[in-house]
Amino acid sequence: MKRLVFLIMAIMLHGIFLMASSSTAATDAQEMENGKHGDLPRFLVPSAASQENFPCSRCHNFRTADRTKRKLTAYHRNIELKHAEDQRWCYDCHEGDQLRLQNGKLVAFTESYVLCGQCHGTIYRDWKAGIHGKRSGEWDGDKLYRVCANCHDPHKPRFRAIEPKQPPMKPSDIKDR
């Protein structure tokens, strides 16, 4: 009898493991391109920031949600929250394997711009018109958008400073050849 229970448990665990690994494979694709979304053109969706952390349910199905604000020491230590952190904690935007809107509705990670657009309405409007953010492709044809998270870290959205390319040559630097 004990043996049979053990066998059943083993099979179940195996199944869970298989499911988890198959869904990671789907997000493995580097910056996958998404199909058209309504009136929006094609856009790039970033791959999950941390491959080993997605899907969330792999661990969080087996843990109770701790909604107290604290310094994370065991997991997600690389996440620094610098984005209206006084008003916000993980579960304000995350739920299950999806993103949580203010009204409690859930959206997939591929539609993260809906979440960002809740607060950044004017930027969202400009982004849809192609004024905010980078576009590439054709000026009167097939364009490629980036979603917010392609360029901004959602937990710390301010752009990091970068090294500039070298300045132009000064006339005084020109030597006879």
Partner: protein, 307 residues
């Protein structure tokens, strides 16, 4: 030299007018009949202004230029001569509230458009201004800034390139009509007609034109072989060049190279005649200005603030 009231030539030869004309005609005729290299030189000498050529003549000229370029640069170079699309007038937008002055556009432009690396030619100049100063005084801007990281605290950046004026002063002053405004609004140069007088450089209020003081120095492997006759084909010593909104890319429907490379998405491009275009949206909805508007050059390059 005066002898009996007749003028004699310095060699002391008697050269009647008829003999002179016969000899000259014979000489010209034989030069024209010379085969090979001399024939191509004649064709180059007799090449018409680009705007006066028929389509067949353009094809013949391009075939010769492609052959010349392959010999000169040690690489196969394709020269395209696609015309402006009807119903298109190009406009450009640059978001000053986003530009971080990283100069990525400057070097992407150089690679796309085959500018000389030595001596160095850049079509885009990024100017740095201190915030809060009387900043439209372009002469007091800094273009050699070189910090470890950009953007710097207390400064902002304004990239300047050809503003593709609707009323271009450079075109007005050209004595050979080697530069003109195309129907899609791009101001272009026929490098085979430019005589290098640099009047256009003196006339341009934006300092957007560059002169080839030497034969462009580019390595064969760095040359972009997809070129346009009026755009990025390799230039000659002694001709003027400038930004063409990447005519070889934009007439094929693509964005210019500077738009594609900008890491903050500050650069916008589109058709001014299309009410649904990005450029029309930003002109309608954002705070927009043009450089030196008071000169009535009507630039099609719009600086704006998205925030």
């Amino acid at each position: 030299m005066e002898e009996n009231g007749r003028r004699r030539n310095p060699l002391g030869l008697k050269l009647p007018r008829r003999t002179f004309i016969k000899g000259a005609l014979l000489g010209l005729g034989s030069a024209a009949l010379l085969p090979g290299q001399a024939g191509a030189a004649w064709e180059a000498f007799l090449q018409k202004n680009f705007r006066e050529m028929s389509d067949a003549e353009v094809r013949a000229v391009i075939a010769r230029l492609e052959k010349e370029a392959a010999g000169e640069w040690g690489k196969e170079i394709k020269i395209d001569a696609s015309k402006a699309k009807p119903g298109v007038k190009f406009g450009y937008g640059l978001d000053l509230s986003r530009c971080i002055g990283c100069r990525k556009c400057v070097y992407a432009c150089t690679e796309e458009n085959n500018q000389s690396r030595t001596p160095q030619i850049h079509w885009i100049t990024v100017l740095r201004f201190a915030k809060g100063e009387k900043w439209l005084d372009l002469e007091n801007s800094e273009k050699y800034y070189n910090p470890k990281e950009v953007p710097e605290e207390g400064f902002f950046y304004l990239p300047v390139q050809c503003q593709q004026c609707e009323n271009p002063p450079c075109v007005k002053v050209c004595p050979t009509k080697a530069t003109w405004k195309e129907p899609d609004g791009i101001v272009v140069i026929d490098y085979n007609w430019c005589i290098g007088c640099r009047y256009c450089m003196a006339a341009c209020p934006y300092g957007a034109r560059r002169f080839n003081w030497a034969r462009p120095g580019i390595k064969a492997e760095e040359i972009n072989p997809d070129t346009h006759y009026l755009g990025n084909r390799p230039r000659y010593k002694g001709v003027v060049e400038k930004c063409t909104f990447c005519v070889q890319r934009t007439r094929a429907g693509k964005y210019p190279a500077c738009v594609e490379v900008c890491p903050v998405g500050a650069r916008k491009f589109g058709n001014l005649l299309d009410p649904e275009s990005e450029i029309r949206y930003l002109i309608k909805n954002k705070r927009v200005f043009r450089l030196k508007e008071d000169l009535n050059t009507e630039p099609k390059f719009f600086y704006f603030f998205a925030t």
